[in-house]
Symmetry: C3
Amino acid sequence: MNKYINIDDIENVSKTIEEAIQLKQSPFRFHHLGKHKTLVMLFFNSSLRTRLSTEKAAKNLGMDVMVLNVNEAWQLEFEDGSIMNANTAEHIKEAAQVISQYADIMAIRAFPSLTDKQKDESEYIINSFVKYATVPIISMESATAHPLQALADAITIEELKLKERPKVVLSWAPHPKALPQAVPNSFVTMMHELDVDFSITHPKGYELNPEITKNTSINYNQNEALKDADFVYVKNWSSYKDYGKILCQDENWMMTKEKLGNAKFMHCLPVRRNVVVEDAVLDGENAVVIQQANNRTFSAQIVLKNILENLSS
Amino acid sequence: MNKYINIDDIENVSKTIEEAIQLKQSPFRFHHLGKHKTLVMLFFNSSLRTRLSTEKAAKNLGMDVMVLNVNEAWQLEFEDGSIMNANTAEHIKEAAQVISQYADIMAIRAFPSLTDKQKDESEYIINSFVKYATVPIISMESATAHPLQALADAITIEELKLKERPKVVLSWAPHPKALPQAVPNSFVTMMHELDVDFSITHPKGYELNPEITKNTSINYNQNEALKDADFVYVKNWSSYKDYGKILCQDENWMMTKEKLGNAKFMHCLPVRRNVVVEDAVLDGENAVVIQQANNRTFSAQIVLKNILENLSS
Amino acid sequence: MNKYINIDDIENVSKTIEEAIQLKQSPFRFHHLGKHKTLVMLFFNSSLRTRLSTEKAAKNLGMDVMVLNVNEAWQLEFEDGSIMNANTAEHIKEAAQVISQYADIMAIRAFPSLTDKQKDESEYIINSFVKYATVPIISMESATAHPLQALADAITIEELKLKERPKVVLSWAPHPKALPQAVPNSFVTMMHELDVDFSITHPKGYELNPEITKNTSINYNQNEALKDADFVYVKNWSSYKDYGKILCQDENWMMTKEKLGNAKFMHCLPVRRNVVVEDAVLDGENAVVIQQANNRTFSAQIVLKNILENLSS
């Protein structure tokens, strides 16, 4: 593995999930691997879980970690050929090459604008780091993907499934703010890698990028979709077609204990209680969000481990 | 020890002070104790001394440390049952449980509002962490208490006292901003644990919480109170009765070299020179504030050490 | 070495450069030196390269590192005798002494105001730390000097020079914002320590502090100055005479591939493309800015190593 930007950077998903579960049993077993290796974590956006779990994963492997909120430095320029006489003080070409020299691996978080679809889909921030950096790049959530989250999700399903081929439903939920499609995108992509009966339910107009959801069953009737589900992944996202817009705030789409039935409740967190999901679900026995968040450490750790092994080989 | 929120979490104060003084002689002696253990430090408010001394203490014990300014992530919700469609993005129930999985110990700093007495006194922030976290919690100053400071204060008095039962006076001082009662509260509580002749002096209206000061002599005449003092702890606080208000800015309450006499001058820092205390005191030989600040490392270290030993037992 | 504030804190420049180049070959060779030693890095201003390279250097030596953006705490007071009833909450006298107790070495970044020449030249921030701290102080760029950068520059020239006595030209460039003179000041000072044919070119009015440039050839004609140069160091600075002012934004002073000829292009970064220097230079083979930035790690590391050795002797 020489980068982790998208799920297809994983060579063998099921083997990787299995190894992550093993790591969880003995998190310090590969502490020697990271000796004298440095992870630089660069944040263009806020983070709690991703920040702490990724840093923890690196330290479990014995790495040194340096965290930088890019906004504490200055604004970076990503356009080729621009005359930099305005707000941007450093070009990504220099920044990526320079930071590469202080790092063995770089991890980047950079959210979408949700206003310029084409620019967001170009993934210009993370892709510029991939292009100009001279060390492996890990995405800690980019404009259109959150592959560390999706790997943690897959680990969680693997740990908890009670049947060979569980039914997994991704169910849209209302939210007061316009949110990215990164988490659902990567979750959909990951589900296609697992042996699951997968479908999506959301209001009309909330169709995700059809390139990603092709071959996925979509049901506009939430109740029908949820029937006999083993895992229900609840998540808000803003419209992809009417890009970045909030089209619906219908609270009937909120997940309830009644709708959930016996299914396990999944969410990437942070989650707004009684907006996205009612208290009774989160406080009930079927919520697995805490275990899911714990698996963030081991999804990051297996990715870092694979990259470190590749570095030294 | 399985948490440190208040002074009564210490089983044996005098033994703890003694052990802290021993740690100061050989700060790296227990460096093995923290191996593969992580302290997560969460700041809801600014910090200089507490941040650096607590991080240093953890590293002296060989711990990994992760520091997060919560404001860099997002606002947390503390109300049960709230419909989270406004400013808060994550509930403490999830946040505390999740972060617990990345930490072996969590340290929290959360100041009071000074506007809502009942809410501040509920200590809802630190107590919510205690309630929902699954790892030990250390207070790095909460709404009503600063127990790491009080322990450092006690260590300092123990190191410097020239008689069995020194006279210690807590003396209010003026300040341009409304400050919490956390430091004086914990100092008063700690003094009741030591063999000292303790009293408080402040203008009328500045009485601290009577639950805390019961059995403490209060003198509204500063000069009388200071007579023959061995240690004078100077500190501003806002009114407790007329909650969070500044009732007096009389500069006659500022500590001077003349008033101090031969007593040692203590303050938790930061201190406003020539407002709280005149230069001549801070620059004189009787000021012990630097030693006091140094003891912050060892008050944090003995607490962390006791908790780590408890974890592994 | 017991501090590094200015280039004359280096006892033997050429030996130091040689040792830095050796360190670069085996960066972890002295990893034992920093055991149980802590570097506290205090930032009054933004940083990317300096932050990451200095932290990396310290960790290469096995040190613990604590980073604090001072603005996250509160404003410090630097005036003697001031009545601190306004914006400043802690005096440098306390802050420097206190932090010294949590650190074995402190590194400080503090830019000039560019409005009060006398105050900037007094270097009151870094000099106050030198005065009141009880541990060695390293400058990570002060009001008038950037000695870690200049040492990295010297290492780069030493690595790349093709003749005994190369011709080195410092060439002013336009910039939309008023920038400090710290980098050119230290570069000029460093060049006087090396065996180089050194000169400066800039528009009239941009003369640097004559105390620093005495005995340096200054040429107002850029083309003449650049003739047969081996290294061209391009940098904007604001006027020293008309202090902090932008007197010229003539884009004819921008560095171009044509002007540069066969010389190596140097810049401390961040650099504004197509304002300070055209793309063709930065993307061409003669740009050595990435190597120069890499040498920031080893200039910091040799300074830290020398100070650590001095500490333990």
